[in-house]
């Protein structure tokens, strides 16, 4: 290999590393949180509804029914069953932020699986946004309202005029990890929901069952 070719390769690798390490949140600019917008748009979760659901994870496809239930004590339950009625998992999200696995089948009873689904459902239920929101940023024509979590930040993202909620997002300091998008006229009982992971290949799709 010629000397100039080696040099070119080194430059290319350096550029690739720089691009790979570049923060997706780098270009955001801090803005003063609009409290009126927060009150109007802050996601408060999904009311009691049944959804047909699929989970595509690393080449595997699972389908079933998902119940999101608001309990009389304001806790939330998320139950995933197969179409024939067998319960795969039953999670409880308490009002104090604690979490309980009420039931899970052996095949899903793995710490990584439970933690991943817990975070996904918490974001979907708007649980991180129960705290006061003191930080906001403007990026790519969208306003990010953020709440720090243990190692990540949970965002809900609005249009600049606060006309609508674009999506919810969970990100590390450098890159987005999960997005939750809702569709429908009533976002407290959306017609469909999509949870998408960006650090590995996983998508959860939900479509509301009209009973």
């Amino acid at each position: 290999m010629h000397k100039w070719q080696m040099k070119y390769l080194h430059y290319s690798l350096a550029l690739l590393l720089l691009v790979g390490c570049a923060s997706e949140y780098k270009s955001r600019k801090p803005v003063t949180p609009d409290q009126a917008c927060i009150e109007k748009i802050r996601p408060t979760g999904v009311n009691t509804s049944w959804y047909t659901t699929y989970i595509d994870v690393i080449g595997r496809h699972i389908s079933g029914l998902l119940l999101i239930k608001q309990m009389p004590d304001s806790s939330r339950r998320v139950v995933f069953t197969n179409e024939a009625g067998v319960t795969f998992l039953d999670f409880q999200f308490n009002t104090d932020g604690s979490f309980q696995v009420k039931q899970v089948i052996k095949q899903l009873n793995k710490k990584a699986v439970i933690q991943t689904l817990r975070k996904d459902f918490e974001l979907m239920l708007g649980i991180p946004f129960r705290q006061s929101i003191t930080e906001a940023w403007l990026q790519d024509g969208e306003v990010y309202y953020g709440v720090p979590q243990k190692k990540e930040t949970a965002y809900f993202i609005t249009t600049p005029d606060c006309a609508s909620l674009r999506r919810m997002e969970l990100g590390s300091s450098r890159k987005k990890k999960v997005t939750v998008a809702l569709w429908g006229n009533d976002l407290s009982a959306p017609d469909s929901i999509q949870v998408k992971h960006y650090t590995f290949n996983m998508v959860i799709g939900l479509k509301k069952i009209e009973r």
């Binding site: 047909t52 389908s63 179409e83 024939a84 009625g85 067998v86 009209e210």
Partner: protein, 220 residues
């Protein structure tokens, strides 16, 4: 052995009789209107003979999934086909669409998004589910080593209470209860009782036995 002072043999017998009565009462309370079938061997023989006469079934069904602690029920319905031997198709049509076809060792699962073809032999759980479904419909469930069975009857039907033996099945079902029509030995309903208390009931209606069912119905 511990002995309580002052208790006579007749008192122990009395306690034992009350205990036995309680056990019987539990069975009757669990399945009101039913009594135990006394001649199990004769029933098994009759069940196998009569079931063997059923070559095909076409039926509608309604499924109710009850989540006890959450006071939630979801009802779905659809169509069911069976053709001897080893072929079953279940189509859920309301309020969602979902198809499951079992044809020998092969299985097709089709939801809104995808079609999955599964070789049942490669998955122990699918193999067991497939076997239960086929055994229930073909009348061979009483020969299954996967369950212990208690049998009850009333004027019109038999009730087969099946308790799983294998650990993998115990995780999903506490009992599976089949209600079988006395007139033609066909399954009227299946109750799947889960360990946490939730229950799924599938009730069959508009059953047609031994009509012509095309092989294409079970195409994978």
């Amino acid at each position: 052995m511990f002995k309580t002072p002052g208790k006579s043999a007749s008192q122990y017998i009395g306690i034992a009789i009350i205990g036995l009565l309680c056990i019987s009462a539990t069975a009757f309370a669990q399945y009101p209107g039913y009594k135990s079938v006394s001649d199990l061997a004769a029933f098994k023989k009759q069940f196998a003979t009569e079931s063997a006469k059923v070559q095909s079934i076409t039926s509608d069904f309604v499924q109710n999934k009850e989540l006890l602690a959450l006071t939630e029920t979801i009802t779905s319905s659809g169509k069911f086909w069976f053709k001897r031997s080893n072929r079953v198709r279940i189509d859920y049509t309301k309020p969602f669409t979902y198809r499951m076809v079992m044809n020998g060792d092969k299985m097709l699962v089709k939801d809104d998004q995808k079609e999955n073809r599964i070789n049942v032999k490669s998955n122990k759980l699918f193999q067991q589910v497939n076997k239960i479904m086929i055994d229930c419909v073909q009348g061979t469930i009483l020969d299954s080593k996967d369950f212990t069975t208690r049998i009850f009857e009333n004027d019109k039907s038999y009730l087969l209470e099946m308790t799983p033996v294998a650990k993998t099945l115990k995780e999903f079902f506490q009992t599976i209860v089949l209600t079988v029509e006395k007139k033609d030995y066909s399954v009227r309903s299946i109750d799947m009782n889960e360990p946490a208390g939730d229950k799924t009931t599938i009730t069959f209606s508009n059953k047609v036995l031994n009509a012509q069912v095309a092989d294409e119905v079970f195409a994978l």
